[in-house]
């Protein structure tokens, strides 16, 4: 087990290094600088700004200096948002994204699994069709379309919710709905098909024939086996939702990290781009890492010391 974890961890560090280097050089390759605008600063001031932020040095020198800084945990100051450290920006804005993301994940798992189970139990009946139509819609409709639609119908027309804001618990409802629709649909389909498979398997038939009660069959056999694919999906989904709420944050005016990321790229705010990329990178890799381990724990067929990494 330890060796498995250690090798996974080592590969994580290597990928992180590649991510940092690639992002750094690609970012420098985009034309523009953090000080551009319709009204340009005078050449003297621009030169001074470039010097103050070390942007006048050769790119490779900037790169080694940056690596040195982050090795010491210093992610620098934002070049656009004056005197704000990148670390502060990330810690200030990750909270809302995390809260929104976690709620969406919980909702997605509960609703998705329930819907999938219903569809499987009522296979080829009205409820099954309804659930599947819903889930096709959920997958097909992009979240930003759904978000605008929800704003229009439930906020503007029905007046139940606020169009934007992130203050009262009620303000979470629309963004959570918009954000969880797609994973709900996916999880529902996943649950349905694996439950159907399980329901038709021999050991369930045996259990039924033996006269085991419904609850026992459901909880001990069907759900437990049927939910396995969902577990493996939750890891990557968590990372996707937390990092992927960019559009939803824009539409509902939530001060999350996704919004910062998009703005930083438009503004060529180099230090913020790097900081958030690294942060996202670590987040995604950790999610991957935990899924791998969870998978190994849940599914005994995966050999921990074997050559899976090979």
């Amino acid at each position: 087990m330890l060796r498995y974890v250690a090798s996974k961890f080592f590969y994580m560090l290597v990928s992180l290094f590649i991510l940092i280097s690639a992002t750094f050089f690609l970012m420098k390759a985009i034309p523009g600088d953090p000080f551009m605008g319709e009204k340009k600063p005078s050449p003297e001031i621009l030169a001074r700004l470039m010097e103050q932020y070390d942007l006048d040095k050769p790119v490779f020198q900037q790169y080694t200096k940056y690596l040195g800084n982050i090795a010491q945990g210093d992610f620098g100051l934002s070049m656009k948002q004056q005197n704000q450290s990148v670390t502060d920006i990330i810690t200030d804005t990750f909270g809302p994204s995390l809260r929104l993301g976690l709620i969406a994940i919980v909702v997605a798992v509960i609703v998705g699994v329930l819907l999938g189970m219903l569809a499987a139990l009522y296979h080829r009946r009205l409820i099954d069709s309804a659930a599947m139509i819903l889930s096709v819609l959920g997958i097909a409709v992009p979240s930003f379309v759904l978000a605008s639609l929800l704003q229009y119908v439930l906020a503007e027309k029905a007046g139940i919710f606020n169009v934007m804001g992130f203050d009262s618990p009620l303000d979470y409802v629309l963004p959570v709905m918009a954000l969880s629709a797609q994973p709900i649909a996916f999880i529902a389909r996943l649950t349905r098909s694996s439950m159907l498979e399980v329901l038709h398997s021999d050991y369930i038939k045996t259990a039924k024939a033996k006269g085991l009660n419904w609850m026992a069959i459901m909880f001990r056999h069907v759900i437990r086996n049927g939910i396995l694919p969902v577990v493996t999906y939750v890891g990557p989904m968590t990372a996707n939702i937390i990092t992927g709420s960019v559009v939803i944050e824009q539409i509902f005016g939530i001060g999350g990290i996704g919004k910062q990321f998009v703005d930083s790229i438009t503004n060529r705010d180099y230090t913020v781009i790097m900081g958030i990329t690294i942060f996202y990178g670590i987040l995604l890799m950790l999610a991957r890492f935990m899924t791998d381990i969870a998978y190994a724990v849940v599914d005994p067929r995966i050999k921990l010391d074997g050559g899976k990494e090979g």
Partner: protein, 551 residues
């Protein structure tokens, strides 16, 4: 088995309905949120399309930052309802006869939000801080202070001694300012953020402008709270000298970069104000808005120009007749009526309306009759230009603009007009903001979109940018006569003569050389709820809500 299955179904239903009910239930207690009524307290709710990059008056350059800074700080003068200078921190001022020396007398009751008195030293400190060559990051707007004697030399490091800069606090209530050249609009600059005073506590705290607690202002409001990327809340500043005139208790600013959300929230009574200058109303909804809320829609011409620039160093626009032909062959009225739809005015000059001339507006004293739209004439000029260049067919032309729906629609319409009226094929290309700016300043384009707004209320803010090699002159245009006119206008203290010189310069720029192709003068389009009174939008389109109130 069946029974259990229905149980599961029931659970799901209860979960779903419960959520919906919970939603309705608690909302009724929310009150102001969405119930279609005006707020019960003196509060003003507006939206910022992007987060202000800084709240330091010495660093700020953009509309979002300025809107907040103008509410939290106050300069020696402030802008009255008609854009005129009214006393701010200064109670009165004397100007020497040669227009070079200003002596401001500060009022006794001006205070910082922590109760400290505002003194002349706070101004001297703030101005010299911006000019200090060692100040990091270097403030791009330092040049706004270059009217002051030796300011430029000190800022550029040619002069080491800050005492030689022409600003001096004679005592706590007297500020003496000496200028480089007579500047008729200097007083109006006193209400510009770079000239605001700063509390001495900022000296030891680099991060003062990033936290609500350390921002000590002297304006009508103070910062109550800031939630990064989400909202900024202001509260009335009781220490403000004119606090009797301030009726609003709170200002709530959300930060959402989506014009659809902004309009939706306005409709849902979550905002009292939507639109320019700090937000946006989607253009494709303007027609509907005009129909549904004609009384709330507020359209005001502002001093900004939307135009295209020609690269005068690249074919085929190194020929003046071809530039003229392109400029004459479009229908500006159609663009304004059908695309922008916000009451913009077709432009035939570069200085927009609203800018002061000698006695009246400059644009009224000097009408923008530099050219006319005329397709036949345009065709002739194009033929003539092609002959001069020896073309049988025009080289391929590409028009670039930065990615934005409106810019795109306008560009496509103009390309279409060129195709129909001149028979030339023009390719339209949209580029990401940074890439676009880089290409434009590197003269790596043929025709490019551009826009320019006033820094101060004088035609010079539009004229001096086109001098040879000027930092914002992205056209390659070089003209000695033009440079001389600008230089002469700077040197004279005779306002009539200045206006005359600038009018001549504008004629050279537009009529004689057609370096720019003016398209329209901007308008400020906003929605204001019927209960919000006293909101003012000035000639530049700056928003002033300090004297607003809920009725």
């Amino acid at each position: 088995m069946k029974k259990h299955k229905s149980l599961l179904l029931l659970m799901t239903l209860i979960l779903a309905i419960g959520t919906a009910l919970a939603g309705c239930g608690s909302n009724n207690n929310e009150g102001a949120g969405s119930s279609g009524n005006k707020p019960k307290e003196q509060v003003f709710r507006m939206n910022l399309a992007s987060e202000p990059p800084t709240l330091d008056p010495g660093q700020a350059q953009d509309n979002n930052s300025n809107t907040i800074i103008n509410a939290v700080f106050e300069g020696l003068t402030r802008k009255g309802p008609d854009g005129e200078e009214v006393p701010g921190v200064a109670e009165k001022w004397d100007i020497s006869e040669d227009g070079l020396k200003y002596v401001f007398t500060l009022r006794n009751d001006a205070r910082w939000s922590n109760g400290d008195p505002v003194t002349a030293k706070d101004f001297e400190f703030a101005w010299k801080r911006v000019l200090d060559p060692g100040f990091a990051p270097a403030p791009p707007y330092a040049y706004q202070l270059y009217y002051i004697k030796n300011a430029e030399a000190y800022n550029l490091g040619e002069l080491d001694d800050p005492d030689q800069v022409g600003v001096k606090a004679v005592d706590d209530h007297t500020l003496e300012v000496t200028l480089e050249n007579p500047t008729p609009y200097f007083l109006s600059l006193m209400s510009f953020q770079t000239y605001y005073p700063l509390h001495s506590s900022v000296k030891d705290n680099d991060k003062w402008a990033t936290k609500a607690e350390t921002i000590i202002g002297n304006g009508p409001f103070k910062i109550a709270s800031m939630t990064k990327g989400q909202k900024i809340e202001l509260a009335k500043n009781d220490q403000y000298w004119d606090h009797q005139s301030i009726k609003l208790e709170k200002v709530h600013m959300s930060i959402v970069n989506s014009s659809a959300t902004e309009l939706s929230s306005y409709r849902n009574d979550e905002l009292d104000y939507a639109g320019h200058p700090v937000g946006n109303i989607p253009t494709d909804q303007l027609a509907a808005v005009k129909k549904q809320m004609p009384d709330e829609l507020n359209i005001k011409g502002i001093s900004s120009t939307y135009f295209y620039i020609f690269n005068t160093t690249q074919e085929p626009f190194d020929n003046v007749n071809i530039r003229k032909a392109f400029s004459m062959a479009i229908d500006r009225q159609a663009i304004v009526d059908k695309i922008t739809q916000g009451g913009q005015i077709p432009a035939f000059g570069f200085v927009p309306p609203g800018i002061k001339g000698e006695k009246d507006e400059f644009r009224k004293e000097v009408p923008d009759k530099y050219f006319e739209e005329n397709i036949d004439e345009a065709k002739k000029l194009l033929d003539q230009g092609m002959k001069e260049k020896g073309y049988t067919t025009l080289p391929a032309v590409t028009l670039i603009h930065n990615s934005d729906d409106n810019h795109k629609k306008i560009a496509l319409a103009i390309a279409d007009m060129w195709k129909n009226n001149l028979g030339v094929q023009v390719q339209v290309q949209n580029q990401e903001w940074g890439v676009f700016l880089k290409n434009r300043s590197a003269l790596n384009y043929q025709v490019a979109r551009s826009g320019w707004g006033a820094d101060y209320n004088d035609p010079m803010t539009y004229i001096d940018m086109w001098t040879s090699g000027g930092g914002n002159n992205d056209t390659g245009f070089k003209n000695e006569e033009y440079d001389k006119l600008v230089k002469d206008a700077y040197a004279t203290d005779d306002n009539a003569k200045r206006m005359e010189l600038m009018a001549q310069a504008e004629k050279i720029l537009v009529e004689d050389n057609q370096v720019v192709m003016p398209i329209y003068y901007y308008s400020n389009v906003s929605l204001i709820k019927p209960w919000m009174k006293g909101i003012n939008i000035d000639f530049k389109g700056d928003l002033d809500f300090s004297r607003a109130y809920v009725e």
